[in-house]
């Protein structure tokens, strides 16, 4: 069996902040990620979905050590990187890259595209065959940009093109793992498909693993091999794509899927919808027992007190629920 590129065990990330305004001394702890296990395999895509505030972005960033993990283990290509220093992380960074959501904020407006993509080589002190400029232009062409635009600045490009710059920068050093945080959600519908297709092609070409973080279930469903559903810092359900989307067993996943609008009027009208009441509770003060019990449509007494464990209910299908849906 192949080894996972990335293995995460019991990952926790808590943020401390003050409550009640800037001058308050009272400390509160935001439990953004609260004990998560993940495995990402070479050449595969693990989709990480959930609503805003569920901790999915924090998971992505903590895995890349952009945040110091509070607890748990991050094992990258067999090496425990949980407590590695910045300095020791640096050589590993060529192997693990990130694509950000906002193609406007994530590119330095004062650098040309050539410098933006080329700096990845400088930082790692790598000289590609044929020189940096030639390699950058080759990358630009690969991601569908005109290599003649080497000296242009980010503002001269559209949103979709900028996201291509972000993609070129991420793949420049042929990483083994890319964390893509909402890479297409800022793009127009007709451009989203272009970038999704590009990401799929590059994955095949370079045998990269993706951790694809997104809230849009349609996109995650399209691109992922396996999917993890998060809610309030915890994993609710994890399964292979086809299994999760055709037979969701956690009431939250089921409600989430039923809420996704389908671009098909007849199906849309006929669909049974589970409308969840209320909002996501605050991660500062998560509900007792099952964190989903405040909004769950199947809630019973037990859910208020006992935390459900993430159990493998059928092969490769893990669910954290006291009363899962039948298989």
């Amino acid at each position: 069996m192949t080894e996972p590129v990335l293995k995460v065990e019991g990952l926790k990330k808590y943020f401390e902040s003050t409550s009640g305004g800037a001058f308050s001394k009272k400390k509160v702890v935001v439990q953004a990620v609260d004990g998560i296990d993940l495995e990402v395999f070479p050449g595969q895509t693990l989709g990480l979905v959930g609503e805003s505030g569920c901790g999915k972005t924090t998971v992505g960033r903590t895995i890349l050590k952009l945040y110091e993990p509070t607890d748990g283990k991050i094992i990258f290509q067999g090496q425990d990187i949980t407590r590695l220093s910045r300095k020791k992380m640096k050589p590993l960074r060529s192997q693990m890259q990130m694509i950000f959501q906002d193609p406007f904020a994530s590119l330095n407006p004062r650098q040309t595209v050539g410098a933006l993509i080329g700096s990845t080589f400088d930082i790692q002190e790598i000289t590609p065959a044929g020189g940096v400029m030639k390699e950058v232009q080759r990358l630009m062409e690969r991601v569908g940009l005109n290599p003649e635009h080497y000296n242009r600045y980010p503002h001269e490009f559209s949103g979709g093109q900028r996201q291509r710059i972000g993609v070129a920068r991420a793949i420049a050093l042929k990483p083994k793992l890319i964390v893509a945080d909402e890479p297409v959600s800022a793009l127009d519908v007709s451009i989203q498909a272009q970038v999704v297709n590009l990401l799929e092609d590059l994955q095949q070409e370079f045998d990269m693993a993706y951790l694809f973080v997104a809230h849009d279930l349609s996109v995650v469903q399209h691109i992922s091999d396996r999917v993890v559903v998060m809610y309030l810092g915890k994993v609710m359900e994890e399964a292979d794509k086809a299994d999760l989307f055709s037979k969701p067993r956690h009431p939250y996943t089921k409600a989430l899927l039923s809420a996704v609008p389908v671009p098909d009027p007849v199906k849309g009208r006929a669909r049974e919808r589970i409308i969840l009441q209320g909002d996501l509770p605050s991660p500062v003060n998560p509900p007792s027992g099952c964190v989903f019990h405040t909004r769950c449509w199947k809630v019973q007494d037990k859910c208020h007190t006992d935390v459900p464990q993430l159990l493998e209910l059928s092969p490769r299908h893990r669910v954290a629920c006291h009363f899962p849906e039948p298989a």
């Binding site: 519908v189 007709s190 498909a193 809230h215 469903q221 399209h222 409600a255 996704v260 671009p263 098909d264």
Partner: protein, 343 residues
């Protein structure tokens, strides 16, 4: 009976240093009470500009505008484009109301929710502030905000995104408007909250028998709530018909392309997305002929490259189904089947 809103040949453009931006180019549509019209398009397609012009919320100094937007009021028709600003102001909030994408920037951070709704109510009702607050509580209750009498005293930042959108809807409904324009009302929300808000909009439409214009880029949302659809591209309506026609028998290459390019949660087989190539054009320098031609996969089928020179008219290809394309109906029928759109 005439539909409540009739927009006729609306042109909106902005002169800028780089040239004239043609944001709405010959837009015509109608919406009746009790009906939902979805205006679909990507950013820059002119969908928001059109609705702002109808509401009279455009900047009169920097905007060139022509055409008509007629509200058929019980007291007689009023054209909001040619009417004086004071007249249009008296219609806003009562005859027509609007909700915006981002409730945080549309609500005033310094005033309580109750004060803001009361202000809107007092514009058209003689009553004390206490009466206004009472009405505000009523509406907050109606839009599903729990413990409304307590929350009416709170400020916008104390509400979650979904709750703020409910507040916006409550405020828009306070004077029983006949027309509600919702500009991307659920785009900033999570899906579970989105489905709550869409349900609420449907319920409120029934309750008040409103004409609703829903502006969105999300073809899933459109399929759930719309009766009729206008598809916009580069400032023009390229296709217009009832919902089932547009989804099952799309008659414009752009609509066909859009429907093929979106991933769908209801089909698990891993088909590659058929992306529309290229970028939407700049509204300052539109290509000659059909604006969609540079990205159109089917343009080679048009005889004599006509779409490179002439702008196609919005023709009725089928009964009440309009499309702005030189291809004939039999040609379009062939194009939509092999690419996977259901027939």
């Amino acid at each position: 009976m005439k539909p409540f809103l009739e927009v006729k040949n609306l042109f909106v453009s902005f002169p800028t240093e780089d040239g004239v931006v043609r944001a709405s180019d010959d837009i015509s549509f109608t919406v009746a009470r009790g009906e939902t019209l979805a205006v679909v398009g990507e950013s820059g397609s002119g969908k928001s500009v059109t609705s702002l012009a109808v509401m009279g919320l455009h900047n009169r100094k920097s905007t060139n505008i022509s055409g008509q937007a007629i509200l058929n009021l019980p007291t007689g028709p009023v054209d909001t484009i040619s009417a004086a600003p004071e007249v249009v102001r008296k219609l806003r909030g009562k005859a027509m109301a609007m909700i915006f994408q981002d409730p945080m920037s549309a609500l005033h951070p310094y005033y309580t929710i109750g004060d803001q709704i009361t202000e809107a109510w007092q514009l058209y009702n003689d009553g004390s502030k206490a009466d206004g607050i009472k009405r505000a509580v009523e509406l907050l209750d109606l839009v599903g905000i729990p413990s409304a009498s307590k929350r009416v005293k709170e400020f916008p930042h104390q509400f979650s995104g979904g709750m703020r959108q409910r507040v916006m809807i409550a405020m828009a409904l306070v004077n029983n408007p006949s027309l509600l324009i919702a500009d991307e009302p659920t785009t900033a929300l999570d899906v579970t909250i989105q489905s709550q808000i869409l349900q609420l909009l449907r319920d409120m439409q029934k309750e008040f028998n409103m004409a609703v214009i829903l502006i969105t880029h999300d073809l899933g949302v459109v399929a759930e709530v719309a009766d009729r659809v206008c598809v916009m591209y580069a400032g023009k309506i390229v296709e217009q018909s009832n919902i089932d026609e547009v989804y099952y028998r799309p008659d414009h290459p752009y609509t066909i392309g859009l429907l093929n390019s979106i991933p769908r949660v209801d089909s698990i087989e891993g088909r590659r997305l058929l992306a529309i190539p290229g970028q939407p054009p700049s509204l300052i320098s539109l290509p000659p002929g059909c604006s969609f031609r540079p990205r159109c996969t089917f343009s080679s089928l048009v005889p004599n490259k006509r779409c490179a020179i002439d702008v196609p008219d919005l023709d009725e290809k089928n009964s009440a189904h309009f499309s702005r394309c030189f291809l004939t109906e039999p040609q379009l029928v062939q194009l939509r089947t092999p690419t996977g759109v259901q027939s």
